[in-house]
């Protein structure tokens, strides 16, 4: 099993405190994401953005959440057998889980390199597969954790503060 973790240094203590003693979310929503469904993929991220907008989250944070969530949602659609998104809302942050049902990432270190992609022709034709998904997700989140087992599944966790 491969694990990768990235924490924004300025938020390190707050994030560790959150992860050590996770409070009950104020709201939790699940979304299903289907394999290769490029017509509907992105709807969940769009919904999450709208929800946060209604709660008065700033434009800059909305953009970061939407971009990170959208890239991760597309990853499930493009690279996995399908999966789900869990959005947990807290007073000062959003926690997002992207959990697929397989087939896992063969080389996690390589997958994180900007420009590296295993996308097929269909995915590339649609404008994806530039190898910038995970780097974009990392750049836009305060905390990112990937746990992946090759020939099994992948779980991505993100924390973004308001």
């Amino acid at each position: 099993m491969a694990i990768y973790e990235s924490i924004k240094p300025e938020k390190e203590s707050t994030i560790k405190q959150f992860l050590d003693n996770p409070p009950e979310p104020e709201m939790s929503i699940d979304y299903e994401v289907n394999k290769k469904d490029f017509v509907n993929s992105g709807k969940a991220s769009s919904d999450i953005k709208l929800l946060l907008k209604k709660l008065g989250v700033s434009t800059e944070v909305l953009r970061r959440v939407a971009v990170a969530s959208y890239e991760a949602e597309i990853n499930i659609t493009a690279h996995s057998q399908g999966g789900k998104i869990v959005c947990n809302l807290f007073s000062d942050l959003v926690q997002l889980f992207f959990i697929d049902i397989g087939n896992g990432i063969k080389d996690l270190e390589k997958a994180l390199e900007p420009g590296f992609s295993t996308a097929d022709d269909l995915v590339r034709e649609m404008g994806f597969g530039a190898g910038l998904g995970l780097p974009n997700i990392k750049k836009n989140s305060d905390y990112m954790k990937i746990v992946s087992e090759y020939n099994d599944h992948t779980e991505l966790e993100l924390l973004i503060f308001f």
Binding site: F38, G42, R63, V67, Y70, E71, M126, G127, N136
Partner: protein
Amino acid sequence: MKLKEIVEMLEAELLTNEEHLDREISCAFGSDLISDILMCTKEATLLLTGLTNPQVIRLSDMIDVMGIVFVRGKMPSEDLIEMANERDLPLISTKFTLYKSAGVLYNSGLRSCKI
């Protein structure tokens, strides 16, 4: 500048509601890579692209897109045009290439968006 002027300069066709012609456009960005579009648009932007799949419209739910110019004569499907009208997102199509479209607009004073 107004979208109407852009339509004229690019000898383009407006595909969405006519009232979109009055839309004021302040800057633009051009790319066929979705990840680049997501990362490089930190302000409300006109997008020039050759992509015509539903995800290019979905993008406008995530970032602030003021309109989309389909280049190289690309035409989106009716479904896509409907998706855009639902979002009040102007769509235009030009026969010009991405390079030529960008050149024409840049020379006319439409600046590059902040990246």
